[in-house]
């Protein structure tokens, strides 16, 4: 290594503790206010003159009464109790917590984008339509698909949209199969979406490679199968090498093949879902295309499909005319709409800026560096942690504390994660995928430097040498220690008002 400091590691506890921050309601003082409104010259009718008496509530709902200064101090202190990508590495497997470029933030804050009402006629919103069309087109080129909808506001929404497209496609062919096949390593959203689409989930066991084998698939295929949902690389970070045969077998059974784009970050410019035989693809723009996760959202989950399915897409979709202008168009046999308007538009704008900045060359480099970082990390953990499926990794690795060659027995994945928090890192994903006991799922992403990846590997190796009792005490340098989650569920306090009388 160069000897440079790891940029993604905080050397001392980066967050504010040790006492709790009061709530906004604790700061409230009757009569304090922050709001101010513009001068309009509109007549000042009273509430009683404007609202029928029986509909008027006597008092406004109590919110808070706080000065702007106190509000800023409170929320700033909350921010100081929150870890973030901007603060350091955040290697949650399957979440793709890459750095979110600031140029995309600025783009999404442009008044010409934020100020547009979504019902603005297309002729006066040509910039927005051009952006959405350009993004759709690029996502189709990246995935090898024919057409896309940008309406789904998150990955799970994209899944449901894709499954409803599957359903409509079968109906159009006079079929009504009832089952969707999903590997046992899949994200929980997959089976949940299958149920919402009116299908039944049939779980496919992974083989000893951690993959779906063509033999297993064939045993489960019959004319009641609507399709299969696959993530490739899968949630073990492994490429489904038999994907072409898997897709062909499903097609032979008149089913469709659905691509969960959660792990697209591994294959940009390397291979495309369309080339693998997929019919329907959802993408998580908040993973692969650097839309920030916002503490849990908003994201965006566009769905792209083959030509055979493009008439069914939710609409309207932007269309480019020969003169270079853009209009809205409703696909001929559209399943309808899956969002109140056009989707999480500002998230889409961020993704478009990211794609422009990276281009074909940059996106391919993204995947190369992501896969390089993951494999390099794995090479440093092998021999310490157990590697349940030890094959060349893609963008993430799954290791385990169970039967780990370099660890004492009884160390829990949870404890390793909590100890990492003390060492200036965010924890990896733990206990997922479900098929690996005591799993630690680590996704370094391409934006972490080799120094950061090396520091994380060293931290994990150091932790492996500690005794389990000490690990169970972590974390001690964070604003709170381990929380009593059982109490939270048993004695529910979901609001400030419920403190005195939990639900």
């Amino acid at each position: 290594m160069t000897g440079a400091a790891p940029g993604g590691r905080a050397r001392s506890a980066p967050l504010l503790g040790h006492d709790a921050e009061p709530t906004i309601f604790d700061f409230s003082v009757p009569g304090r206010r922050a709001a101010s409104f513009r001068t309009t010259g509109v007549p000042e009718w009273t509430a009683e003159q404007l609202v029928p008496a029986e509909e008027l509530r006597p008092e406004p709902p109590p919110l808070a009464e706080i000065s702007e200064r106190d509000l800023v101090a409170h929320v700033t202190r909350l921010a100081h109790r929150q870890y973030s990508v901007d603060m350091g590495a955040y290697p949650l497997g399957s979440c793709t917590m890459k750095y979110n470029p600031k140029v995309c933030d600025e783009a999404a804050a442009l008044a010409g984008l934020t100020g547009a009402h979504p019902a603005t006629p297309a002729s006066y919103a040509q910039g927005w339509l051009a952006l959405l069309w350009g993004l759709s087109d690029a996502l189709c080129r990246i995935t090898g698909m024919h057409a896309a909808t940008l309406q789904p506001p998150a990955g799970a929404a994209g899944e449901l949209t894709g499954l409803l497209l599957m359903r409509a496609w079968h109906q159009g062919h006079g079929r009504s199969p009832s089952k969707v096949l999903i590997p046992d390593s899949a994200h929980g959203t997959n089976p949940a979406s299958v149920s919402l689409a009116g299908y039944r989930t049939v779980s496919l066991p992974s083989d000893n490679r951690g993959l779906v084998s063509p033999e297993t698939l064939r045993q489960h295929l019959d004319d009641d199968v609507a399709g299969i949902m696959l993530t490739n690389p899968n949630t073990l970070g492994l490429f489904e090498e038999d994907i072409a045969q898997l897709a062909a077998a499903v097609h032979d059974a008149a089913g469709l093949v659905y691509y969960d784009g959660a792990n697209l970050n591994a294959i940009l410019g390397v291979t495309r879902p369309g080339d693998m035989g997929f019919d329907i693809v959802h993408l998580n723009l908040h993973k692969t295309f650097a839309v920030p996760h916002g503490g849990g959202g908003p994201g965006a989950g566009p769905v792209a499909v083959t030509k055979a399915l493009s008439d069914l897409l939710p609409g309207p979709v932007p269309k480019r005319l020969d003169d270079g202008s853009f209009v809205w168009e409703q696909p001929a046999r559209s399943i309808g709409r899956v969002h109140g308007w056009h989707g999480n538009a500002l998230a889409l704008a961020r993704a478009w800026a990211y794609i422009l900045a990276n281009g074909a060359d940059g996106l391919q480099k993204v995947s190369e560096a992501a896969v390089l970082n993951a494999n390099w990390l794995l090479s440093r953990l092998r021999g310490v942690y157990s590697v349940p499926f030890d094959r060349p990794a893609m963008h993430e690795v799954v290791v385990s504390t169970k039967a780990a060659p370099g660890m004492q027995a009884g160390v829990r994945a949870l404890d390793v994660g909590k100890r990492l928090l003390e060492k200036g890192f965010h924890a990896p994903t733990v206990y997922f995928p479900l098929v690996v006991p005591e799993a630690l799922m680590i996704e370094p992403t391409e934006t972490e430097s080799p120094e950061t990846v090396a520091a994380r590997a060293s931290a994990l190796v150091e932790i492996a040498a500690e005794n389990p009792e000490d690990l169970a005490l972590a974390p001690r340098t964070t604003p709170i220690g381990r929380a009593d989650e059982a109490r939270a569920a048993r004695s529910l306090v979901p609001t400030w008002d419920a403190r005195a009388k939990p639900l």
Partner: protein, 454 residues
């Protein structure tokens, strides 16, 4: 061009060497050769950042917004002021660039902000529990209907024709897989006629099969035409049919109107965009969702609860996790994972900034502007109310010229005049007035419309 990959060429070579590989391509040996993309992606090369900024500015400049097209459109997206404090605080990178709070020890900031958001939404809705957000008003309505149908074991929902038609469309699309039957309850002069609906179907009569009985009634107040249509008018029908009552409310109107909870709602939902989110061509917005205590274990999405840590300090965690898709999988009642947390944080700041009297004043200002503009427009020859029920912050007019033509012509005069709507077979224009609209803007709007419809 790769702006965001820190690796030098030397880093690449050394790391590949450590793995016993010579080229980056070797990393993808597990991808069968037949599937490899020859020649890379069919996209232009990456652009320098200043060029990206310039291109995005060009796109932004190709939209007419602000004073170039003064906004009188609503229909679920409103041109409210977003104060600097909301943008500054919700724009903090600790909130913007963090993940779902799966490690509460380092996520107290987002968790506490959501706890405060849940409290504020619960108070607006008049119900004891609000979740940490869903995507938007449309999908909040879908989640509410799914909850109600799961709770009642039924598959039919009665929906007021005053529900936003795009939300109605999303409800139809997103529940199609489960075969949910949607029955539209007609409006009479702008308000839903629940009793006539119940009488015509006689669902509560003796011997009637429960199969066709509704599991949910969905009402909206103010509804899509701007009319105040209180949910309690549906309460008797809900009780007789055994349906749950779902109330769509508006967080601004909540400053003046009775809450859905007071009117008997089991579930209340709202489009939260008016609380701190820019119009932004439709998203990201915010689905607010609150429930009565009895339905908390069917609540979709994340819920933050207060607890303590090992030292007894106040702590916040996501709770009742066993409801959620990652644990319950195919048995989960919702598939939501990623939500709209950052928009919820902005809404928390916005609601705190408004404060108790500020929310009332905001609602009043919208209502005053609505009264002023509506009265002035009704003096224009040929302009009539589309429906007669009282309105609060939005209203529908019948015009002598088709609404889409009016919108086009008004754009030439510098106004986004509204949205074309339909009620009872008549076409009209839906016009919204927020606290931002000045008397001078409204006077100019009236003069322009007079010219346009003449």
């Amino acid at each position: 061009m790769t702006h965001y990959v820190p690796h030098t060429d030397e880093d690449f070579s050394r790391m590949l060497g450590d793995l016993g590989l010579s080229r980056a391509d070797d990393l993808f040996a597990c991808v069968p050769a037949a599937l490899r993309l020859a020649g890379g992606l069919d996209l232009p090369a990456g652009m320098p950042e200043p060029d990206v900024a310039a291109e995005m500015a060009r796109l932004a400049g190709a939209n007419r917004t602000g004073s170039d097209l003064v906004c009188f459109a609503g229909g679920g997206a409103y041109d409210h002021d977003v104060p600097a404090v909301t943008r500054a605080l919700a724009g903090r990178s600790e909130f913007v660039t963090s993940y779902t709070p799966y490690q509460p020890e380092v996520a107290q900031g987002v968790l506490q902000a959501l706890f405060e958001y849940q409290t504020l939404v619960s108070r607006l809705a008049g119900l004891p529990v609000a979740n940490a957000s869903v995507y938007d008003g449309a999908t909040a309505t879908v989640e509410a209907v799914n909850l109600a149908l799961a709770a009642t074991g039924r598959s039919t929902v009665w929906v007021s024709s005053g529900l936003n038609p795009r939300w109605r469309a999303a409800l139809a699309t997103l529940t199609a897989g489960r075969g949910t039957a949607i029955v539209d309850v007609p409006l009479v002069d702008g308000v839903a006629d629940w009793e006539a609906m119940a009488a015509s179907l006689d669902v509560s009569g003796p011997g009637r099969a429960a199969a066709s009985a509704p599991g949910a009634l969905v009402g909206a107040s103010p509804n899509y035409l701007g009319c105040i249509d209180p949910l309690r008018r549906a309460r008797d029908v809900a009780q007789r049919t055994g349906a749950l009552l779902v109330g769509v409310f508006d967080p601004v109107a909540a400053g003046l109107l009775r809450t859905p909870g007071e009117d008997g709602a089991d579930v209340a939902v709202a489009e939260g965009q008016p609380m701190g989110a820019p119009m932004a061509f439709g998203g990201p917005y915010l689905g607010m969702l609150a429930v009565a205590a009895g339905h908390v274990r069917r609540l979709p999405g994340r819920l933050v609860g207060q607890t303590v840590d090992g030292d007894g300090r106040t702590a916040y965690v996501t709770t009742l996790r066993a409801r959620e898709q990652d644990i319950r999988r195919e048995k989960a009642s919702s598939n939501i994972c990623t939500n709209q947390t950052l928009v919820a944080v902005a809404a928390m700041v916005q609601m705190a900034w408004l404060g108790t009297p500020g929310l009332r004043e905001l609602a009043l200002r919208c209502a005053r502007g609505t009264r002023y503009l509506r009265q002035a427009l009704l003096d224009v020859p040929g302009v009539e109310p589309l429906v007669g029920a009282p309105v609060l912050r939005e209203f529908a007019l019948a015009l002598p010229v088709p609404a889409d033509v009016v919108v086009e012509r008004m754009a030439d005069e510098g106004f986004l005049a509204g949205i074309a709507v339909e009620a009872g077979g008549r076409e009209g224009l839906l016009v919204a007035v927020t606290e931002k609209r000045t008397r001078a803007e409204m006077d100019a709007y009236v003069a322009a419309l007079e010219k346009v419809v003449a």
